[in-house]
């Protein structure tokens, strides 16, 4: 299947890789869109200036370059593992790409969105948006209602970055 992978600074290639196979708790995703983010530009042009070192295994999961690109993505569910109940074949989903340790003080008091060893799909993970088929944890699939199409679905992640900033600016504002 086709994919877009970053090999090194300034080296992005479209190439054929093996498709993933299903495993417990996961779904396979096709179609959809992947947004290109400012951090993708930093990774391509100046990875040395980023907080992460992509040439070494990530502390959380060991992932390093080569990396399928894209952490802002949506897709249509092609298959689900036997133990998956909340997501069904044919659902359109937006992917929550954040993975955390679940054990540190930040993870214990929140959902870990500031976890020190946080890793994201498309940055330091086996999965990224820019692959014809990708494996994603069912728990990270947000099913889209009919009124939210797959293009909007790929915008959920960057829009959530901004939403968080606004939510922190004025706790008294009714954001829901």
């Amino acid at each position: 299947m086709q994919s877009v992978r970053i090999h090194a600074k300034g080296d992005v290639r479209v190439e054929v890789i093996d498709p993933p196979s299903l495993e417990p708790g996961a779904v396979l995703l096709g179609d959809g869109y992947t947004g290109i983010c400012g951090s993708d530009l930093h990774i391509y042009f100046a990875p040395e200036a980023m907080a992460w070192d992509f040439t070494r295994p990530a502390e959380l999961n060991g992932a390093m370059w080569l990396q399928v690109m894209g952490h802002e993505f949506s897709g249509r569910v092609l298959a689900v593992a036997d133990d998956v109940v909340d997501v069904a074949v044919g659902d359109n989903v937006a992917i929550f790409p954040v993975h955390t340790c679940g054990k540190c003080s930040i993870c214990r008091v929140s959902d870990g969105h500031s976890c020190r060893v946080l890793a994201m799909d498309g940055l330091q993970r086996r999965t990224g948006g820019m692959a014809e088929v990708k494996i994603v944890e069912a728990a990270n699939c947000f099913v889209l209602p009919e009124t939210v199409d797959l293009k909007l679905g790929a915008l959920v992640e960057p829009m959530a970055v901004a939403w968080r900033g606004v939510a922190l600016s004025a706790p008294e504002w009714a954001l829901s």
Binding site: V14, T34, F45, G129, A162, G165
Partner: protein, 176 residues
């Protein structure tokens, strides 16, 4: 209550939509690029400022009986925009920095006076993710005005360079 968004790129647009979802009547978006201001205009942003020819401070004060806006969301990371935004804030006003700063910013008493709060924000929670999808389903995120473009896998490397030159706003890569 008024709010200021610094920078009318994709995250700035996201901050605008989130502030409108929070029920803020007067949102000022400051953006030096004429092309991006045209997109903001198509998105019906109510107060668009060119910081190179207008005073962001004056616009914010005029909207708030001289008091300044309660909130500023920095989506630009531009050291030259930050001092004006701090001075556009009201007493106890809050600045949330979502942007990445490539160059340091200077703080002075002139900017800090008035018991202001400066807070950083990077990654959203699951709750934020779901709330954005809810707001999208209610029609709160417009995609007109040409701010979103769609490309193919083979275009990614070229588009990364074009984005670096400021030639697009948001680019989505279609999964083949």
């Amino acid at each position: 209550m008024g709010a200021l968004v610094i920078g009318g790129g994709p995250i700035g647009v996201g901050a605008y939509f989130a502030l409108k979802a929070a029920g803020v009547d007067d949102v000022v978006v400051s953006e030096p690029s004429a092309g991006r201001r045209a997109i903001l205009s198509a998105l019906e942003v109510e107060h668009i400022v060119d910081p190179l020819s207008e005073s962001v401070i004056d616009v914010c004060r005029d909207l708030t009986y001289g008091e300044g806006v309660a909130v500023a969301i920095d989506c630009a990371g531009a050291p030259q925009a930050f001092p004006d935004a701090m001075q556009a804030l009201s007493y106890s006003g809050r600045m949330v920095i979502v942007a990445a700063f490539e160059k340091p910013i200077e703080l002075s008493t002139r900017l800090l006076i008035g018991e202001k709060v400066i807070r950083s924000s990077e990654i959203y929670t699951r709750e934020d993710f779901g709330a954005v999808i809810g707001a999208m389903a209610r029609g709160g995120y417009r995609t007109n005005g040409g701010w979103i473009k769609t490309v193919e896998f083979g275009d990614v490397e070229r588009v990364l360079r074009e984005l670096r030159e400021g030639r697009h706003m948001k680019v989505l890569v279609r999964t083949p």
